[in-house]
């Protein structure tokens, strides 16, 4: 059956196969987990039946999407499980290893199939051989006999072999005999799943993790946005205070000048100013309350998203079991894994970060902690060592403990090494408690002087400590000489993690949120622009902004995009993308808008996160509509009068002109405008045409008669501009006629017109 025989168009098929691959990964992981969970004991009939059911489902799904080799492989595996289900079929440690190899192999096969189908076939052949060996183990003598009591099925459930028909063919069909998938002999009887006590699967929404990650990073961005808004509002608050102070001095000035005839009108103005200042403070205070509400909502959003990403410790434990299996095979050390608290839930992002530390701790335990069998026997310990991983929640903390029943840490030897390596003085070593000594473990010292393949020179534990520190947690070591060691990792259940690009400038590491970094590039010597995807973009030399460098050498660059603007920041060295924890800068650093937040490195150093909005503003000075009042004195363009009967337009114009440095007065119609022009002179008049009382043209005509307004620039804003209007406007010396809706660009063009 070729792809064209299927009922799907190519795109649809590609999508379905991708879905299948994800489903198959989960199914195979479930099989792996079951095998690993039983340790070296034979799984119960129930477990084997479940493994068959999962494999069977996989076979059906593979057929639907036309992956025939997968159908055949799943069928073989299902048959092998059926064979193992026979009571007489033995189960050895190598059976479990083989099954894990097969499930891992199948996942690799599916991934390869998606990338390069031609290269997948050799993988399939290897998997066939492995499955055959799984099935054949029933003929070979067991190399390790297992405690039989563990493999007893629960008494209230029929064992798999009891449910199997004795006549059921368990022989494997050879590939040449293999007919179309639907013709395959079914290795199991059709047993209603309810009989097996398999719970009805809950209905779940399948979402690609990347989508959730994208949402998470958007939510993270909201935090940065909020910080920006908050800063603006704080500025507003400062302005409100300044205004109140100015008013006060005005009042003082008036009070000392009661005789002047202007005093009365000044006093009126002062009163108005007072009420406006009060309004501004009230509005600002209300705005702060609303930002607080926004902060809470963002918090809830993030917590909700984190809950989506919560996963149980099971995946981590399964991974640990697989690691330990590989270690056991590589070293021959006899060790079993015991897991507790698999249901403990925590952030998937945290879980992913824990894989390496757990692997490292297992390696350390196998390489250093577990004694040789004769040593264990002499101490009265069972020949096979046990490593226990226990997960539990302790308040807001996730606690992961990795314990071994090995020799424990020789604190005396560690003390000696701390002194020998010059890290501790003799006096300190004498004063330190055993707990202090254990705390020093993995901060550059190891108990053993020699390194081996598995567990380096204590560097492994350094990495564990660093990873956990970066996650905002800590590592505690508890050791009982001769009885074992426990590494206790305590860390927050979830953290505000964000993806960021890290780079070095002037000897320090900085970060930019990854959502704003598209790629890295090279900035040529003396270049003020760089080419990104065939487009020249401006370069910001971070080494001169943040460092002391004045040179313009060829350097690596980070491509930063914000609000549709792209630029390149040249840096000393790219460190690479990292997951970082966002720490707020606090009120004292808030005025430094260049920095959005900070993070703490694995070694405890503070690293500053640059605000991409500010970086972009430095090379696109016009891009940012808002003129930061702290960024220097604003150039006053003059006093403008805006005349329009729409309040919305008056507000919009006030804001647009305000940003260009105009002091803006408004009037709702021509008559009021005329009244205002009698009191004050204006440097610019912007007027609508159709207004009650006095129309725009009448207003302009009257203004032109006034000496003071004879040549004042006048701009007409209108929703209808016909040739007659244009002619009249020209006669009246109107600078420009702008059609509504008004945009900032149109307005700027009109102001620039001559």
């Amino acid at each position: 059956m070729s792809d064209t025989d299927l009922d799907f168009d190519p795109d649809e098929l590609a999508m379905l196969r991708q879905l299948f691959r994800s489903e198959a990964h989960d199914a195979l992981e479930a099989v792996t987990a079951r095998v690993l969970a039983t340790g070296s004991a034979k799984p119960t009939g129930e477990t084997l039946t479940e493994m068959m059911r999962v494999t069977h489902t996989l076979k059906g799904a593979a057929g639907t999407v036309g992956l025939n080799v997968m159908v055949e492989l799943a069928h073989r595996l299902e048959s092998a499980f059926a064979a193992l289900g026979r009571e007489t079929a033995p189960w050895t440690a190598s059976t479990a290893d083989l099954i894990v190899e097969v499930t891992d192999g199948l996942r690799g096969y599916l991934d390869q199939l998606a990338v390069e189908p031609a290269a997948a076939e050799p993988l399939a052949q290897r998997i066939r051989d492995q499955i055959d060996r799984v099935a054949r183990t029933r003929d070979s003598a067991p190399d390790v006999t297992l405690p039989p009591e563990k493999s007893d099925p629960p008494p209230d459930r029929p064992s798999l072999s009891e449910m199997m028909s004795p006549n059921e063919s368990l022989s494997m069909p050879t590939i040449t005999e293999l007919p179309a998938p639907e013709g395959l002999p079914e290795p199991i009887l059709d047993i209603p799943s309810t009989d097996l006590g398999v719970p009805e699967p809950k209905s779940y929404l399948r979402v690609e993790p990347e989508r959730i990650d994208a949402l998470m990073s958007s939510a993270g961005e909201l935090l940065f946005d909020r910080t920006r808004i908050e800063r603006r509002v704080q500025l507003l608050r400062t302005l409100a205070r300044d205004l109140a102070r100015t008013r006060q001095s005005l009042r003082d000035a008036i009070a000392t000048d009661t005789k002047s005839k202007d005093a009365r009108s000044l006093s009126d103005a002062e009163n108005e100013l007072a009420s406006q200042a009060t309004q501004l403070s009230q509005t600002t205070a209300a705005l702060l309350d609303e930002i607080e509400a926004l902060r809470r909502t963002i918090g809830e959003l993030q917590r909700g998203l984190v809950r989506i990403r919560m996963e149980s410790a099971r995946n981590l434990m399964t991974h640990a079991a697989r690691t330990l299996r590989a270690l056991r095979r590589a070293t021959g050390v006899r060790v079993e894994l015991r897991t507790l608290g698999e249901e403990t839930e925590f952030d998937k992002a945290v879980a992913e970060q824990l894989v390496d530390p757990i692997t490292q701790l297992l390696r350390n335990a196998v390489a250093h902690a577990i004694e040789r069998p004769e040593e264990r026997a002499a101490r009265g310990k069972p020949p096979s060592a046990t490593i226990t991983i226990r997960a539990r929640q302790d308040g807001n903390l996730l606690v992961l403990e990795v314990s071994d029943d090995g020799r424990g840490v020789d604190t005396a030897a560690l003390r000696d090494r701390l002194v020998a390596t010059g890290r501790w003085s003799q006096a300190r070593a004498q004063l330190a408690t055993d707990a202090d000594v254990l705390d020093a473990l993995g901060t550059g010292v190891s108990v053993r002087g020699d390194a081996d393949e598995l567990a380096g020179r204590g560097i492994g534990l350094d990495l564990v400590r660093q990873t956990i520190a970066r996650l905002g947690g800590e590592v505690k070591v508890i050791s009982a000489p001769g009885r074992g060691t426990t590494f206790s990792l305590r860390l927050p259940l979830s953290t505000s993690l964000a993806q960021a690009m890290l780079f070095k400038v002037g000897g320090q590491v900085y970060a930019i949120p990854a959502v704003h970094v598209s790629e890295t590039t090279i900035v040529d010597a003396n270049a003020s622009t760089a080419t990104v995807r065939q487009v020249p973009v401006p370069v910001l030399r971070l080494e001169s902004l943040l460092g002391q460098s004045t040179g313009n050498e060829r350097r690596p660059g980070v491509v930063v995009s914000f609000a549709g603007k792209t630029m390149v920041c040249s840096v000393d060295k790219i460190v690479g993308p990292r997951e970082i924890i966002i720490k707020p800068l606090g009120p004292l650093l808030a005025p430094l808008t260049l920095y959005a937040a900070a993070t703490i490195s694995g070694s405890g150093k503070v690293q500053l996160i640059l605000d991409p909005a500010q970086l972009v503003r430095r090379v696109y000075p016009d891009a940012h509509e808002y003129q930061d009042p702290t960024s220097g004195p604003m150039v006053l363009a003059g006093r403008a009068l805006v005349v329009d009967d729409s309040r919305a337009i008056r507000e919009a114009m006030t804001s647009m002109l305000g940003r260009e440095g105009w002091i803006v007065d408004v009037a709702e119609d021509g008559a009021r405008a005329l009244q205002m022009t009698r009191q004050l002179s204006y440097d610019l008049v912007v007027t609508d045409l159709e207004m009650p009382e006095l129309s725009g043209f009448e207003l302009i005509a009257r203004l032109r008669k006034d000496q003071r307004f004879a040549t004042t620039p006048i701009v007409i804003i209108t929703s209808r501009a016909n040739p007659e209007h244009r002619r009249r406007a020209k006669d009246l010396g109107v600078r420009a006629l702008v059609a509504k809706p008004i945009t900032r660009r149109k307005l700027l063009e009109a102001l620039a017109a001559r």
């Binding site: 707020p584 606090g586 650093l589 430094l592 900070a598 703490i600 702290t630």
Partner: protein
């Protein structure tokens, strides 16, 4: 001669200062100090204090005197908390907790030596002013 109890006396260079103990959250040895480029010299850098970001300030610059040396890893610092804001003050030496007296308008310690009594609330307000003033265009 009015008395002010529970002040912590410390030295920066040749100058001696005191601050009431109630403002001092802890006395620490600074970890790695990250410089904050473009910031006013009053901000010597930022430090990791138990997972939070601690700005380290220069007392000299806060009092409109020349700034002292930039804070470095291993320097001593007083962690001050006032009005919900946390900051570190780099110090050369922390002497002792003492009582202060007023002697003819000057603040002196029990031995009659003059020193400067710092007002953390005012210092933090000044710090915010200075940090805000130096925001580059």
């Amino acid at each position: 001669m009015p008395e002010l109890r529970n002040v912590i006396v410390f030295a920066i260079g040749a100058a001696r200062y005191a601050v009431e103990l109630r403002w001092v959250r802890e006395v620490v040895t600074l970890g790695f100090v990250t410089a904050v480029p473009t910031a006013h010299p009053v901000l010597g850098g930022v430090c990791n204090l138990h997972g939070t970001i601690l700005p380290v300030l220069d007392v000299g610059a806060l009092l409109d005197q020349p700034a002292g040396p930039a804070p470095r890893q291993g320097d001593g610092a007083l962690v001050i908390e006032a009005d919900g804001t946390l900051c570190g003050l780099r110090v050369d030496q922390v002497d002792h907790v003492a009582s202060l007296f007023e002697d003819g308008g000057a603040v002196v310690d029990a031995a009659g030596r003059p020193l400067t009594l710092l007002d953390p609330q005012r210092l933090l307000r000044r710090a915010l002013e200075l940090v805000s003033s130096a925001v580059p265009a």
